[in-house]
């Protein structure tokens, strides 16, 4: 039962933290690494393009996953009194807000230019 409660807190916290960090990572370019697809090379952190496009998407996912894993793991081990207010509703509200936010950013950048 305790393991189930911890797992529940973990998955909710992961969904919230990942959604928030992913949007921040895309807006502020907080890529953990960059892939230079024309060269087949990786660079640590957000690099400038080298002889071709620089791909940050993998780095944004890595940043969001690692940070969200740490936050969710910490949340799972917090006392129940502190995590009681972590509503399961947030497990879908946060990703939905991230979807709307990123879609809005793309509309602004590519549809209203």
């Amino acid at each position: 039962m305790i393991a189930s409660r911890k797992l529940g807190v973990f998955v909710i916290a992961f969904a919230i933290a990942y959604a928030v960090i992913y949007v921040m990572a895309t807006e502020l370019n907080l890529a953990l690494f960059t892939y230079h697809s024309a060269l087949g090379e990786f660079g640590f952190g957000p690099n400038k393009p080298r002889n071709g496009p620089a791909m940050y998407w993998y780095g944004w996912i890595a940043t969001s996953t690692l940070c969200a894993l740490v936050i969710a793991a910490v949340a799972a081990y917090l006392p129940e009194t502190m995590t009681r207010r972590l509503s399961p509703t947030l497990a879908w509200v946060a990703p939905l807000a991230a979807i709307v936010t990123t879609a809005g950013m793309m509309v602004r950048m590519y549809f209203l230019r």
């Binding site: 969904a15 992913y22 496009p53 996953t65 497990a91 879908w92 939905l96 991230a98 793309m106």
Partner: protein
């Protein structure tokens, strides 16, 4: 040639994922009250729980293959799209990229809330998480096709 094979496998996995998530979302949001013999009623009366692990695995496999193909896309199709200034399709694909990444974050909660031990009071959370995943899968499937077929438009 290798990328074409990967693209076809990616497409086939996406079809399987699309079928599974659509089946599940229909059975969750439009359940049958009484089983009858019709095709639609049988489609709606499927056991939603049995799809969960398959959907998670298919989502991850499709995403990983898509991520591999994406490297080739950036140095081939993307260049042509930018040169042709097709900003709307370009933006649609950027949304696909972001939605796929956000859908990845939904998977643990989706899997957890479909477990039999989770209280029935969370049925609405389960249903909405399923609907979000279904939206992402449908969006990515359709936009993937549009981008893949872009040279056919108007030619």
């Amino acid at each position: 040639m290798g990328m074409i094979v990967l693209l076809i496998v990616h497409g086939l996995l996406a079809v399987a994922l699309l079928g599974a998530i659509t089946h599940q979302v229909v059975s969750v949001w439009w359940p049958v009250r009484a089983v009858s013999g019709g095709f639609v009623a049988r489609y709606r009366s499927t056991s939603s729980t049995s799809y969960v692990t398959a959907i998670v695995v298919l989502y991850l496999l499709t995403m990983v293959l898509g991520a591999v193909i994406y490297t080739h896309y950036t140095i081939s199709a993307r260049v042509a799209i930018i040169q042709l200034q097709l900003w709307k399709p370009y933006g649609l694909f950027e949304m696909k990229e972001h939605f796929a990444a956000i859908g990845f974050s939904v998977l643990p909660a989706y899997w957890y809330f479909w477990q039999p031990h989770v209280a029935p009071q969370y049925a609405r959370v389960r249903a909405i998480l399923t609907a979000i995943l279904a939206f992402i899968v449908w969006w990515n499937f359709l936009i993937g096709h549009i981008i893949n077929d872009i040279r056919g438009f108007g030619s």
